[in-house]
Amino acid sequence: MSMKMLEVGCPMPGFDARAKVTGEEKYAADQSREDTLWAGAKRAGIAHGIIRGIDTSAARALPGVFAILTRKDITGTNRQGIVHKDQPVLAGGKVRHCGDPVALVLAEDRDILKNALSLIRVDFEPLPGVFDPEKALEPEAPRVHETGNLLQKAVISTGNAMESFNECDIVVEDSFVASGQEHAFLETENGLAWREPDGKIVMIVSTQAPFRDRFEIAHALGLEVDAIRVIGPYLGGGFGGKDGSTVQCLLALAALHAGGRPVKMWWEREESFIAGYKRHPVKMRYRLGAMRDGTLHALQCSLFYDTGPYAHLGVEVMALGMEHAGGPYRIPNTFVEGWCVYTNNPISGAMRGFGVCQVAFGIERMMDLLASKLGMSRLDIRLKNALLRGDRNCSGVVLVHSTGIVPCLETLGRHSLWMESSKWKGAAGPFKRRGVGIAAVFNAMGYGRGIPDSAIAKVELTREGKIRVYSGVPDMGQGNASAFVQFAGEILCQNASRMELILPDTDRTHPSGSSSAGRTTYTYGNALILACKELKEKLLHRTALMLMLDEARGLTLLPGKVKHLPSGREVPLDLIGRTFPETDRIVVNQFVMPVAQDNVNTGKEFKIGFPHVLFSYAAHLAYVEVDELTGKIDVKGYLAVTEGGRIINPLGFEQQVHGAVAQGIGYGLMEEVLLDEGRILNPNFTNYIIPTSLDIPEIATVSVEMVESTGPFGMKGIGEVGTNGPLPAIAGAVEDAVGRRLNRSPLTAENILCAM
């Protein structure tokens, strides 16, 4: 373990990197116990239908089948869901998408499990399905739920949008379609669970929200919350797709019927595609009005979010999309309508960029359209309207925190990739056309109003003299765990070899919310800083007692010891650890993220999750080359300028920006969940293509370092904002190259060739 001091602002290799690079790290998928049963779900395979009967007799007769469970084996509500509890653990009456589970099999091994699943016969009465959010709103459309297909209609408006369009010198209109997207984390959904002799269910699971999982499981299965213990190791990727129950409820149900034996459930890739959550496909209609000098004046847009058959976080995703529909701009009059609609498509839910990726495509392409109609530079029109601190944003919230979109755009404007873009375009080879596009994007942090975005941090000096951080919020690869160690090391003046980290465990760590929403490092980090400062004071005070000093003045923490600087006397930390009881060596503290104080008179349909007050910002630039013969697009260069407050670890900052841009490039160019009547046509990496090392260019990563005064060491969350830029920047570059506007993502070679 590194002897390098943990200091904020320095490039720090991940605290977990060594264990991951040697294969020692145990993810949920790597967990095993003696005598484990395998659990698997029988999936509906049809998008909409009544279950008339389930014949499990042939499967039950198979040697090695331990149990087969159906809806009637569930004694709780059978309803899971983060906010809206509308998703059955096991479908009983009807199925609403191809991935609905209808039976759960427990078997001695995976081969038997597969055989048993194939032997289960479900007798369906097929129902007509609905696969388009607008069609689902028609009165005669098939009903996904008895309550109808509209999950939520909402409006966010400021000023007087309808009348203000008459005051505009120019009004532009266009519509857009943004595709769904698969998270495609490498570690598919999985977990291992067992029942302790006292009845408690213990589950090691790949999850972004271990504390919330307990409530979901308890509610769905009729258990007490404290009868469930969830342990959340490092995740092999999450990106939003492991926020909310995946295997959890099924696995807990299996553990209840496994006779005390451990049960493992691990979705194969195809099952992950079929049953897992997706980014929402969105249809968008935009109208944007401005003055002759390019000043934005009015925005109207209609957004249709296809949430699939269950809400997951659909309403919250739509709320965030609507909140960002006007981009990081000052628009005094706005009218944003949203419909979050049930269909029989796969389930849409949380994904990095959470509803914002889609509207960034819409508003940024509208800005390009407006610039071209007015004969303005694409950069100038953005700079002219970019939000400043103190402005009121498109949701009516006054920006009282760090607001860095202007310096992001200015930095982009000074960068060589922008300055030299004409020269680069002019150097295109035969049968190639080149273009450059830009995008200004932002992304809110935190849960928004209505749910306290809170974390509780615990830090301990162990008897062995180590500093142990108890993290209550998972690390899915974004590096928050390393940041926590870094914060504690910085405040308590230790190097990595003197640090220990306890990963989330509902029996050992404290509730700290989910790993999501650009809030993970911010919220837990703030709580941890408070705890570490208090621990430091405590340790210096106890050391003063040991050294017979009247006060702690002159004492300082150093790696492995406390030193009295005036006299040079030292006390090793392990001696302090052994001298004092646990309560003298442990501190617990908490933090809640600030929320908007404005009395915004809009968006009242959203009881939670609206509005937000903290945002990260970015300006992106893409160099794109289009092959005239094939339509293939190559992204040849990329610049991401990001304002996420202070950078606490430049290495981690670049990792997050690179990864977000890469996912955004995949979303922009190649990734699309292809559906035929709700059935996924490409549920594997053979046909659902995610970027390889040949598809992602070098990425220039620049930070505009402002200070967010409420952030831990001045930082903000930057995991999501980078995902929002690539699609609009690339689409702008393609238009620049071939003179055609492509309003449907992804921008595949086929789409380009047709447009040319």
Binding site: K20, G23, T188, E268, Q478, G659, I690, S693, L694
Partner: protein, 158 residues
């Protein structure tokens, strides 16, 4: 069927059906979970191992194919406790994020540098194009492999 092979330098015997997927032999029968499985279809490279020094996909190999072969998994790359230069560079250059693709990418890079000790960035990208990573955007992986190559040739990485 009894199958014998050298695993991370040690003679190893397993008694398994000849068609058992080798990734299952490693992970389930031998407890070596450093080798990951992500797609089960040879698309992602996460299950990469070295067989007689060549990068191979253990999810596509049957146990019987390993008879008499020399197999290196990620656990065997630093068996003596000191990390391989590729592993060191992955840590130092920030090429590890969630880490689930990492063992496979590291072994693919080891094989790449064995074939070509002085690759260009483009050649590194080509050499690793069979290994999917969803976190990194690949830039830091290329940085790390480039740095490891320089170090292995006796130079000082920039």
């Amino acid at each position: 069927m009894r199958i014998s092979f050298y695993l991370n330098g040690k003679q190893t015997h397993v008694d398994v059906p000849p068609g058992r997927k080798f990734v299952d032999v490693l992970r389930e029968d031998l407890g070596l979970t450093g080798t990951k499985e992500c797609c089960g279809a040879g698309e992602c490279g996460a299950c990469t191992i070295l067989v007689d020094g060549q990068a191979r996909l253990s999810c596509l190999m049957a146990a019987a194919q390993l008879q008499g072969r020399r197999v290196t998994t990620i656990e065997g790359l630093a068996a003596d406790g000191s990390l391989h230069p590729v592993q060191e560079a992955f840590i130092e250059y920030g090429a590890v994020q969630c880490g689930f693709c990492t063992p496979g990418v590291v072994l693919a890079a080891v094989h790449l540098l064995d074939r070509n000790p002085d690759p260009t960035r483009e050649q590194i990208r080509e050499g690793l194009s069979g290994n999917l990573c969803r976190c990194s955007g690949y830039v830091k992986i290329v940085d790390a492999v480039e740095a490891a190559a320089t170090k292995m040739r006796g130079g000082t990485p920039q």
